[in-house]
Amino acid sequence: MTSRIIAIVVCGLMFPALSAAQPAPPPTTPDGTPVPRTANGRPDLSGIWNKRLVVNTAATAEPLPFTAAGLKAFNDVWNHIDPTSKCILPGVPRVNTSPYPFQIVQLPDKVIFLYEYMHNFRVIYTDGRSHRKSWEPSLLGDSIGRWDGDALVIETVNLTDRTWLDDHGNRHSDALKVTERWRRVSANQLSYEETIDDPKFYTKPWTVSWLIPIAPQEWELMEYACTDNNKDMSDGHLQPGPLDGSLRDGTAIAQPPRPRRQPTQQP
């Protein structure tokens, strides 16, 4: 045990330059500044937000409750090129953890998300409508929103399995349902929470969250056309594997499947 701890400590000490090179992490607690509100009293999420690249979105939820199929997909990542390297849209939820700022425009019946990265947009209706019935599964899926107190809750279904969750190569299936909870917790911070509910790949849902700082006042969204000059793709340099280069060390294990709770019948 002691030697294991020493190994971990020594390993950690090997990367001082790496940790020094990281930008300072954003604060993890609200800074106490007042939450702006709209005329109808809701917290106003509007603004340009400086989201950052989250390399391993599952970091605080590990070990993940893999099913056998989920574990297989996780380990199989070294046989596939990251879809975003080929300029395929990051999809939901990765659009929220990719780099570059995004803008929220909050209206009484909808909330519009404009993402600089790969020019994604999402129109999230909050007027009580249901999911669409007949559209094909897509990279961004089918999202509907509702207000739960001060939180905008977005539920997304009808996703393809062609996107990944992050640069670490965490995966999802086409059974994925994503629940996002967005809250403005101060004048300068959004709280973001995502729940990954994917019964094909995970035996139970898992949830992660963090704060996103507001962008400097002078920032505007810029053009980001992934295919404009993607020489890595056009010159044939793309290689399989997760972008963060992480290896699969064999420590992740599949969890025994847990029966999903069925709705109980009223007597």
Binding site: S3, R4, A7, I8, V10, C11, M14, F15, L18, A21, Q22, P23, L53, V55, D82, T84, S85, S98, P99, Y100, E116, D167, W219, M222, E223, Y224, A225, C226, D228, N229, N230, K231, D232, M233, H237, L238, Q239, G241, P242, L243, D244, G245, S246, L247, D249, G250, T251
Partner: protein, 136 residues
């Protein structure tokens, strides 16, 4: 056994992180972290486009031969927000690039730093997001 595993993973991570992984594509897929290169050349073209800028150089060898190089830099949007622009690299200007060579042996590099003839560093930030630069 577990300790050996940790050491192994640690060593593998050290390899993967020297230099740290890049963002839009895997650095290790295209460039060799064990093949650093320093190039002194003249700027012939600057491609300030997404997802990464590319700078083209004529490098004058000791024997008088000129070789053409192309080097990948940071993400234009991030560089712009840091206050850099293509004006920082003028055509015909002398530039020293410190970076890593491509694995495929072509005259391609991933730049870590760019310095003008007077030693002034420009375009801080590489395509390597984890180096605190203007990645992806």
């Amino acid at each position: 056994m577990r300790t050996r595993l940790i050491a192994l993973v640690c060593a593998a991570t050290a390899i993967a992180y020297a230099p740290p992984a890049a963002a839009h594509h895997s650095f290790a897929a295209q460039f060799d972290g064990d093949k650093p290169v320093v190039l002194k050349g003249v700027v012939t073209k600057v491609d300030w486009r997404n997802p990464h800028i590319w700078v083209y150089l004529d490098v004058h060898e000791a024997d008088g031969k000129v070789t053409k190089w192309e080097c990948e830099g940071g993400a234009p949007n991030a560089l712009t927000r840091q206050g850099w622009s293509r004006e920082n690299l003028k055509l015909g200007e002398e530039l020293t690039v410190d970076g890593w060579r491509a694995k495929d042996g072509t005259n391609t590099c991933n730049a870590r730093t760019w310095k003008l003839a007077n030693g002034q560093p420009v375009l801080a930030g590489s395509s390597n997001a984890n180096a605190g630069g203007a990645g992806r």
